[in-house]
């Protein structure tokens, strides 16, 4: 679907027209749980961008240089999730050693990322679409940025919302979903921009 697209187009379509959160609904769980404060969402967003870019690169290499030649494509789910989990673990250890400030900012979010469906989703999408290495990395990075844009916007809106009166049954998740719906509508407005 995206094979003939330029790198630039892939990057922007991953952020706006095909936002991984608002059109593919991936990463909703942590999206709803974390988006209460702007600061936390900023940290999680940064961690997602980083992990997503690196894991889509790693998984691309693993898929095309190990799994395809060995004819083990059906094991891809297990391999991808192991690569993601291992990568996250290693990054966590490195950050802990190297920088205390960075660890304080990102550390608590890293374990959450292993089970963030957006990361695995991005890896599976890149395989289904048959992207090449560069396209996959750009797609991974763009999706991460798109996810961060969405969660930041959401956190900002939710902070304002805390003062307003919401119908009883809609409090919490309900109203968050309504906001996400309106944001998805707004993002649909971008759909004509990239052909």
């Amino acid at each position: 679907m995206n094979t003939n697209m330029g790198i630039f187009a892939i990057f922007f379509s991953a952020i706006f027209t095909q936002n991984i959160l608002l059109t593919y609904y991936l990463g909703m769980c942590s999206f709803l749980a974390i988006s209460r404060q702007v600061k936390a969402s900023l940290g999680l967003g940064a961690a997602v961008i980083f992990v997503m870019t690196c894991t889509s690169a790693l998984n691309w290499l693993v898929y095309y240089y190990i799994l395809v030649p060995l004819d083990l494509v059906y094991l891809r789910f297990i391999v991808f999730i192991v690569v993601i989990a291992a990568f996250v673990q290693i990054v966590e250890m490195i950050i802990e050693r190297v920088s205390d400030a960075l660890y304080a900012a990102l550390g608590i979010f890293l374990p959450l990322i292993t089970v963030n469906c957006a990361i695995l989703g991005a890896c599976l999408f890149m395989i289904i679409r048959g992207q090449n290495f560069l396209q996959s990395v750009v797609y991974g990075c763009g999706s991460g940025v798109g996810w961060m844009v969405a969660i930041l916007a959401m956190a900002g809106i939710r902070q304002k919302m805390s003062k307003s009166r919401v119908p009883k049954g809609l409090e919490g998740a309900g109203i968050a979903l309504v906001i996400a719906g309106i944001m998805a509508l707004a993002f649909m407005g971008f759909s004509g921009v990239i052909k």
């Binding site: 609904y25 991936l26 719906g181």
Partner: protein
């Protein structure tokens, strides 16, 4: 034992429902509910995975070191998901293509992970089997209701058969992303507002 089994079973269908009370597994709830047929397949896959992975984790719970338990759980879940994926691909290739990555994403579905983590690690296998099965069912019936309305309003049909006459103008927004968010929000609203009593839904996030 019998009473407890029944309690566990009903808990997951009603007050502890994974979708509208605990808000877990939302990703796939939204993604596969635009057509009823896909939803049914997805639900079967999920029920299969939660039931068996809960059972397996519970069987192995004494031997799983607690430091790496997440990893072990994910691997067990992934094995079952691969079985589901291959089975769907072999029997229903069209639907497999439409579902795309979402079958694989059952692995990171928070319901499966959440149940193994919260229930199977501390309960015997038989009870875990029931718990997994019923949380799968609790998830499924919510999805089926949402999918029914989205397909009816969005394409005027149910299970691919046209239900509403030619006078019906499709709400095409319902089969697209925003419709899913609104539909789930309305569903949660109705359930929380009218069926459950307000003082008992403390579990909500």
């Amino acid at each position: 034992m019998r009473g407890k089994t029944k309690k566990v079973f009903l808990e997951n269908l009603g007050r502890g429902n994974p979708v509208f009370i605990q808000i877990l597994g939302i990703c796939s709830t939204l993604a596969v509910t635009n057509v009823l047929k896909n939803t049914v397949i997805m639900c079967c896959g999920l029920v299969f995975t939660t039931t068996l992975s809960n059972f397996t984790v519970s069987l192995l719970r004494r031997w799983i070191p607690s430091r790496i338990r997440m990893m072990v759980e994910v691997l067990i879940i992934a094995c079952y998901v691969i079985i589901v994926d291959i089975a769907i691909k072999a029997t229903l290739p069209d639907i497999s293509r439409q579902l795309g990555p979402y079958v694989g994403l059952i692995i990171t579905n928070c319901i499966v992970m959440g149940r193994t983590e919260a229930f199977a690690l501390s309960n015997p296998p038989g009870l875990s089997l029931v718990d997994g099965f019923s949380s799968g069912l609790g998830y499924s019936y919510v999805l089926l209701i949402i999918a029914f309305f989205r397909e009816l309003l969005g394409s005027g049909s149910v299970w691919g058969v046209r239900m509403l006459g030619n006078w019906w103008v499709n709400w095409s927004i319902m089969v697209m992303a925003p419709g899913a968010f609104f539909m789930l929000a309305v569903f949660i609203w109705i359930v929380k507002g009218s069926i459950l009593k307000p003082d008992q839904d403390k579990k909500g996030t």
